[in-house]
């Protein structure tokens, strides 16, 4: 019987090869990481378990990105714990402010997570790296502590849902719109405990940045992770980045899937997910009149260079609406520099946007763009739960960088067509 890409990766990382879906297996981990919110607990549990040394100091990443640069004294203390632990253990991949980026953009960019890897991160958006053809799952702090000590993780072999996208994408329709559309069709628990494998001619033509965006939000459908078969586009991305050899896997044609879901994309418009669930997506033509106070472009979902280029294309020759705060956050320092070299930062600041150093900041209501009671934001981030970006009575609408940029100009949620 054929196997899916995920089954092949798991099989290469476990002792027993004869597992079936639903079995609990122990799997070797190629790269494990945590951030300033999840690492402090993981470090505490690591020490309490009696472990002396991490299983492999090259295979662990510590990234203070959520509340860093330190937003307050408590956050400063948490970040300090990471720094000290990294020094004490000789962990090479600790990223200090100035080199730091949002973890799920940073790790692929630095070639630390690679095709065929088992990647485990103490952050739910670890699924992002599935875009490279890796098996990448999010866990909590105790699990991460166990991995730091043992180098392996227990997991249940998941079934896979195959998604096939075909047809021609409309202008302004991006990976973000495809994933919001997909979640709206299957629901926020539509892929619970399962893998979402994205495939089809549309995915084959999609850039890496858009693939990362799609895989990033699979967790918003409850998925264990998402995965895309590596191809020429993946290999080009890895050129000059990969820090070690890697393995390319593909699903067999006769592999068995839980379900196969097909989407014809030519009817898909830019999407906007209404509060308070990512599944509440509507096509932009049905949004109606929704005034906004803030627009955020950034995060592990949409803070990459292509996202900034699209935002710049929309903002060129425009000014941010006087009643809107537009905050743009490149996801990593390299992306920031690239945007600077391309003149994008100049364009953003000239248009009246605030540009921030990389941080998760406002996405989870940390800082750098918190909403007051009754305020409303359009955001390229990944969650619009109650209170996610600030006051419990504020609202977040999720969309692509193109829609977020256009809405910042119009003062209400609009299609980029309306401002171009």
């Amino acid at each position: 019987m054929g196997r899916t890409i995920v089954e092949k990766i798991l099989s290469a990382h476990t002792e027993k090869d004869d597992f079936k879906i639903g079995d609990i297996i122990n799997v070797r981990v190629d790269f494990a990481f945590a951030n300033d919110i999840t690492a402090p607990l993981a470090i505490k549990y690591f020490k309490e378990s009696g472990a002396k040394e991490v299983f492999d100091r090259k295979k662990i990443g510590l990234i203070p990105d959520h509340f860093a640069p330190n937003k307050d004294i408590k956050s400063a203390e948490q970040c300090k714990l990471l720094r000290e632990f990294a020094q004490e253990q000789g962990i090479e991949n600790y990223f200090e402010v100035g080199k730091m980026g949002v973890e799920h953009a940073l790790l692929p960019e630095k070639g630390l997570v690679l095709p065929g890897d088992v990647v485990v991160g103490a952050d739910s958006h670890t699924d992002t790296s599935g875009a490279l053809g890796a098996f990448a799952i999010g866990v909590g702090s105790t699990d991460l502590a166990a991995i730091m000590a043992l180098g392996e993780v227990w997991l249940k072999v998941p079934p896979t849902i195959k998604f096939i996208y075909f047809g021609k994408l409309n202008k302004w329709v991006s990976g973000k719109d495809l994933i919001l559309y997909t979640i709206s069709k299957i629901g926020v628990d539509g892929a619970n405990y399962q893998v979402m494998e994205f495939s089809g001619e549309v995915i084959k033509r999609l850039s890496m940045d858009n693939r990362f965006t799609m895989c990033n939000m699979a967790v918003e459908a409850g998925a264990k992770t998402a995965i895309i078969e590596p191809d020429q586009i993946t290999l080009e991305y890895l050129q000059g980045r990969a820090t070690r050899p890697y393995q390319l896997y593909k699903s067999d044609p006769e592999a068995s899937y839980e379900k196969v879901i097909e989407f014809e994309v030519s009817k898909i418009e830019p999407q906007v997910a209404f509060p308070h669930l990512p599944e509440n997506a509507k096509p932009i033509s049905e949004v109606g009149y929704i005034k906004i106070d803030q627009s955020i472009i950034g995060s592990c979902t949409n803070g990459r260079i292509e996202d900034l280029r699209i935002a710049a294309e929309v903002l060129k020759g425009q000014q941010v609406h006087p009643e809107v705060r537009l905050i743009i956050i490149p996801a990593t320092q390299d992306i920031y520099l690239q945007a600077l070299r391309e003149g994008l930062i100049d364009l953003f600041v000239s248009a009246g946007a605030a540009v921030s150093t990389p941080t998760c900041g406002p996405c989870l209501g940390g800082y750098m763009g918190i909403l007051a009671k009754g305020e409303r934001a359009i955001s390229t981030t990944n969650r619009n739960f109650v209170g996610r970006m600030g006051h419990p009575e504020s609202e977040v609408y999720l969309a692509s960088p193109a829609v977020a940029a256009a809405s910042a100009v119009a003062g209400r949620i609009v299609s980029p067509e309306e401002v171009k």
């Binding site: 105790t142 502590a145 209501g365 209170g387």
Partner: protein, 169 residues
């Protein structure tokens, strides 16, 4: 183990931002986290509940972020366990790892009301509604997870595993 407590009912898709808002994640102190548990859902929640009370929720409980602070806050607030139609996967792992018992049951969520008294037998895998005398079956955990729980959680499991490896060497 027998768990007994009063029911607090919750809807589908209770996310971890509601269980413990990210603005309080600059600490991992259980007592401090417990103070803000479910604050954006009902600001009075932690004042209303008594030690041992039980949350009975709809599907996809604990969806969203991987913050272990969510089950920690619920446990430290005094809740004895969570029963839901289904759990989001990271929350499920986290709850087991920190020792917050969780049970899946379709029927009980639909059939019990707030304030009723439940009794759960974790060995038999049964939930009894003491207010109506109805008995429901719940999931029994897979063998490996039971092993983790029997040694006292994942931290203890790691301790034992490290010892075993030392002997192997």
């Amino acid at each position: 183990m027998i768990i007994k407590g009063k029911v607090w009912k919750f809807r589908d898709n209770i996310d971890t931002d509601v269980i413990i808002p990210a603005r309080y994640l600059n600490t991992s102190d259980p007592t401090e986290l417990a103070l803000h548990c479910m604050e954006d859902y009902d600001p009075q929640f932690t004042k209303k509940i008594s030690r041992g009370d039980i949350i009975v929720a709809g599907k996809n409980f604990g969806c969203g972020s991987s913050r272990e602070h969510a089950p920690i806050a619920l446990k430290a607030a005094g809740l004895s366990c969570i029963i839901a139609k289904s759990f989001a996967r990271i929350f499920f792992r986290n709850a087991i790892n920190i020792g917050l018992p969780i049970f899946e049951s379709e029927e009980i969520t639909d059939q019990c009301t707030e304030g009723e008294l439940l009794e759960i037998d974790t060995v038999k895998g049964t939930i009894k509604n003491l207010s109506t005398n109805k008995v429901y079956r719940t999931n029994l955990l897979p063998e490996f997870i039971q092993k983790v729980i029997s040694v006292g959680g994942l931290k203890e499991y790691v301790k034992e595993e490290l010892k075993r490896r030392e002997i192997d060497v």
